[in-house]
């Protein structure tokens, strides 16, 4: 038997390893996506005072710290007796502005820096060109817009949290600071940086690009890494529309049948289990009532657009309808459509940032609420990569006694393994020689999920991918290591 191992996976956040086992006839017998980091964040936060959680846990990641900051903050709000609806209106809006800034910059980072090289140059193009530097050289105007869009999101984060990475916006029951009229004008007047209106315009342009790309490459996009899965995400509790900050949990199966029916955040523990495998540090969450084999779900942009019933902003809603029309309204299980879905969320975030920036509630000093102390708090948000769950328990001395984090990439563990298996079975199987382009297709499938392996394993460090091909005797006969 032969085994291919991709170690480390490149252009994902974290350190991953792919192994593909082949028999003597080069037929694929097994394929796995391993996460080889471990840190144990859930353990070492125990004993810390609860108010430190939003500050400490965001150190899980340098790409999506805001998501952890906000999910932890929502949980800690409950420890001080404040439910999401009880936050002051200005505090809710400032947190949402921070969140949309984060989603906007994270999605821009992924599309322009990580995904676009594959789309613009092809999965089997020269790997020395197939990166963000190659994009910048071949498409400087696109690169410039990508840079400025990411910068805009980061500036929003800096406005609300003090700095672009690892800032602090929240305090138990609210937020630290209000926004001044001068501060928000920076994002509206098109003087020092492109305005939020420009961000909306550019978001529409890049969606037009991806739609044209889909037209031109439909055969590839409609067939690559297509497999049935469940889909999970938050939706608004009143109308089922897309919700990223505070909603109810909804899941469907691959045909759109409801498997989780608008469950309140506090009840998540009744519905989810996590299993472990000895070959990876990443857990496998699944819905209890469906079991491990059938209860796993994709999360993130594709899942969110599948489970929601619309989007509250007009331009993004129009694009969502077109997106859904591409599958005649049916649930979409085509992995590569995740990029299109991600760009619709970029547009949604831009529209929401505009709505919030123009809202005078941002200028209010009504920032903090208090309630009756509780011993447990659960915070769930939609991070850029998908549903993110933070759960804390504290003792009478305000110390955290238990912490459970189910992060987006953990939900996507089984879907990513399915993606690797698909490529192994459909691209690598039976081939006498494995080319770099073939191996990159494994990464293309994983990359669609924008995995953040540091978050998922709560580990630190670089995020490379190793890939190994191992024969039926267990010998590594081919290996790729990308830093």
């Amino acid at each position: 038997m032969t085994k291919i191992v991709i170690d480390p996976v490149t252009r994902v956040e974290g350190h991953g390893k792919v192994t593909v086992h082949l028999d003597e006839n080069n037929q694929v017998t097994d394929a796995k996506f391993h996460i080889v980091e471990f840190r144990g964040f859930e353990r070492f936060i125990q004993g810390h005072p609860y108010w430190e959680a939003p500050v400490l846990v965001q150190r899980l990641c340098g790409i999506c710290p805001v998501s952890h900051h906000l999910a932890a903050a929502k949980a800690i709000d409950q420890i001080v007796g404040v439910d999401p609806d009880d936050l002051s209106v200005p505090a809710q809006k400032i947190r949402k502005l921070l969140h949309f800034g984060q989603v906007f910059q994270s999605h821009a980072l992924h599309f322009f820096y990580l995904a676009s090289p594959d789309l613009l140059f092809g999965a089997d193009s020269d790997p020395l060109k197939r990166n963000v530097v190659g994009v910048a050289m071949a498409y400087p105007e696109l690169a410039k817009k990508g840079i400025l869009m990411r910068k805009f999101g980061q500036e929003i984060i800096k406005l609300t949290a003090g700095k672009r990475i690892h800032g602090i916006a929240t305090t138990p029951g609210g937020v630290h600071k209000t926004i001044t009229a001068k501060e928000r004008m920076y994002f509206l007047d098109e003087k020092e940086i492109p305005s939020v209106d420009t961000m909306i315009k550019w978001s529409v342009e890049i969606i037009d690009f991806i739609k044209q790309y889909h037209n031109d490459n439909k055969d590839f996009l409609d067939t690559f890494a297509v497999y049935p899965s469940g889909h999970l995400g938050l939706v608004k509790k009143d109308n089922g529309f897309l919700e990223l900050y505070d909603g109810v949990l909804r899941a469907t199966d691959f045909e759109g049948n409801t498997t989780l029916n608008d469950v309140p955040n506090d009840d998540y523990n009744e519905y989810f289990y996590e299993s472990v495998e000895k070959w990876t540090y990443l857990k496998f969450p699944y819905l209890k009532h469906l079991g491990k084999e059938n209860g796993w779900n994709r999360v993130g942009p594709l899942a969110r657009l599948n489970v929601c019933e619309g989007i509250e902003t007009p331009l993004a809603h129009k694009e969502w309808m077109e997106f859904m029309a591409s599958t005649n309204g049916k649930t979409n299980n085509m992995t590569m459509y995740t990029h299109w879905a991600r760009l619709i969320e970029i547009l949604y975030s831009a529209e929401m940032m505009k709505e919030l920036l123009e809202d005078d509630d941002l200028l209010s000093n009504d920032l903090i609420r208090k309630g009756e102390r509780r011993k447990e708090g659960i915070g769930i948000i939609e991070a850029p990569r998908g549903t993110l769950i933070h759960h804390y328990e504290v003792d009478d001395k305000d110390r955290i006694t238990r912490c459970n984090l189910i992060v987006s990439t953990t939900h996507n563990n089984e879907p990513m393994n399915q993606a690797v298996k698909w490529v192994a079975n459909n691209v690598l199987d039976g081939k006498a020689k494995i080319t770099e382009g073939m191996l990159n297709q494994v990464e293309v499938a994983i990359r669609a999920y924008d995995p953040c392996l540091s978050c998922a394993t709560h580990a630190m460090g670089q995020m490379p991918l190793n890939m190994q091909l191992v024969d039926h005797y267990g010998n590594v006969i081919e290996e790729k290591i990308r830093q």
Binding site: A136, M137, I165, R482
Partner: protein, 153 residues
């Protein structure tokens, strides 16, 4: 950004990993001596959007810890734009940032790297004694030889 801000210092590193914090420590120490047309930026690592910042300056200096040993305790080098041959966007070097600045924005600031030798990169706060000594030497060199030169440009 005001018109007179023409020199930018990037301090690169992580003060949570002992001597990897040399770049930041350099900025901490030098900041009080800098004229108003100097700006400083702290970075864990360089990113593509730093090319957008770099285009606004005439001179860029990248300061980072260095694993190599130098007699002087540091190395001062001119930095020339060069296309990256790496696979990843997670680790961009100064040459690539300058190359992106030139490619995307058609700007080519004069640039230098200042690599200061460190010896301990484990999880720890604070510099080793070796790194502290090298930092002092690098600051002395910069204050005596570089600062006036750039200011007089």
């Amino acid at each position: 950004m005001s018109e007179n801000k023409r020199t930018l210092l990037f301090g690169i590193g992580n003060c949570g990993r002992a001597d990897d914090g040399l770049g930041w420590a350099f900025l901490d120490e030098i900041e009080r001596n800098l004229p108003s047309n100097f700006d400083i930026e702290y970075r864990y690592q360089l990113q593509v959007e730093d090319a957008e910042i770099a285009q606004n300056y005439d001179t860029i200096i990248f300061i980072d810890a260095h694993i190599a040993t130098f007699d002087s305790g540091f190395e001062w080098k001119i930095c020339i734009p060069k296309a990256s041959d790496t696979y990843t966007s997670h680790e961009l070097n100064p040459e690539t940032i300058l190359h992106l600045t030139k490619t995307i924005y058609n700007k080519q600031p004069t640039a230098f790297t200042l690599g200061i030798t460190g010896v301990n990169y484990e999880l720890a706060l604070g510099l080793s004694s070796v790194a502290s000594n090298n930092l002092t030497k690098a600051l002395d060199y910069f204050n005596k030889n570089i600062l006036n030169l750039i200011t007089a440009k």
